[in-house]
């Protein structure tokens, strides 16, 4: 029986310059170099990427959905942050 298993890594791929890296999945690798190589072989077989980030999964801190109320709901009534909050006559162009 193996003493230690390869840790899990999260893979982020930039599909082309100008776009952000997007999470596309995860995989196992012994170290960061191997994670990059594996990510290239697993997640960019069909020309999906021009750049890869790998992050060991344990280093990601995620918000807890139980706190979603306090974290995200307060933003819901701040309608003045959106352009449609402001009434302007139709004659005003380019604004």
């Amino acid at each position: 029986m193996s003493t230690k298993n390869w840790p899990l890594w999260e893979i982020f791929v930039r599909s082309k310059n100008g776009l952000e890296h997007r999470h596309c999945g995860s995989l196992h690798a012994a170290d960061s170099e191997m994670a990059l190589e594996n990510a290239r072989d697993v997640y960019t077989r069909r020309n999906e990427g021009v750049s890869i980030w790998v992050v060991e999964s344990k280093h990601i801190t995620a918000s807890n959905p139980e706190h979603n109320g306090e974290l995200f709901e307060p933003a819901q009534d701040k309608v003045y942050r959106h352009p449609t909050f402001y009434d302007l006559p139709d004659d005003v162009k380019h604004m």
């Binding site: 390869w6 196992h28 690798a29 012994a30 191997m34 190589e37 072989d41």
Partner: protein
């Protein structure tokens, strides 16, 4: 699939250019047999991720084979297809080096074989890029990127297995020691080689040798492995005199074409 280098192929070649034809086969057979060996592993690798990586290498190699053989069919100009050339020659007509036909004894042998070939292959392709034959240099331009990755991948694994556990070190060292005997042949020149070098088409492999052993030694040292000292080498592949392994490789590679001749698939 269309040959991406179709536009570069001159229609005027005839079989009088036998040296060029043989030269191309010499290059392509290495990729063919190594690709076949790597393909054997698909589904049986040590982890899913490595399985996918090894299959990618196999796919790269077969892609190269197709480019070379499609070019060779034009030069032969006798109506034979890429598959005829790949699958319907006799044992003695395959010109690959002995190294690439060595079996997947274990993962150390698989990666050791890959590494010892990749370092040569990359240096070879970098020279072939300068070929005066535009088709060959275009193929080399594409392949050099693939093989750069292979060399990086296999070198990294040599370091992992060499400088891993006691068990892996022992296995990796054994594989390198055994495969070492097949390295010298990479730098032997055939008659076709010499003729092609003289025409500015081919690569003078004798000039790649010193740098090859330097690079190999660097990686082995970093992997805390011994560079084998043996001066006894095996040769013959380039003349079609192979190890006993090749017959079995061909038995599988050729099976369908032999059992069901003259059919479309």
């Amino acid at each position: 699939m269309l040959n991406p280098f179709q536009h570069l192929i001159k229609k005027s070649y005839t079989m009088k250019n036998e040296n060029l034809y043989n030269y191309i086969l010499g290059i392509a057979d290495n990729s063919l047999i190594l690709g076949q060996r790597m393909g054997e592993l698909c589904g049986h690798g040590p982890s899913l991720e490595t399985d996918i990586a090894c299959t990618n290498i196999s796919l790269d190699l077969f892609g190269q084979v197709r480019s070379y053989f499609q070019y060779a069919t034009k030069i032969a100009g006798d109506g034979r297809s890429e598959d005829d050339i790949a699958m319907l020659r006799q044992e003695r007509e395959y010109k690959n080096v002995l190294l690439v036909e060595q079996p997947n004894t274990n993962f150390a042998y698989t990666l050791g074989r890959q590494f010892l070939f990749d370092i040569y292959h990359l240096a070879f392709l970098k020279e072939l890029q300068k070929s005066t034959d535009l088709t060959l240099s275009a193929i080399a331009n594409k392949c050099v990127k693939e093989v750069s990755y292979h060399a990086r991948f296999s070198s990294d694994w040599i370091k992992r297995l060499g400088d891993g556990t006691d068990e892996s070190k022992e296995k990796m060292q054994e594989a390198i020691n055994d495969l070492w005997a097949y390295t010298d042949e990479l730098f032997h020149q055939t008659d076709a080689d010499k003729a092609m070098v003289a025409e500015g088409i081919g690569v003078d492999v004798t000039k790649l040798k010193d740098n090859y052993y330097r690079e190999i030694s660097q990686v082995l040292e970093e992997a805390t492995l011994q560079v084998p000292g043996s001066k006894y080498f095996q040769k013959g592949g380039k003349q079609g005199i192979h190890t006993e392994h090749l017959g079995y490789i061909l038995a599988e590679l050729q099976y369908m074409q032999r059992a069901y001749p003259n059919m479309e698939w």
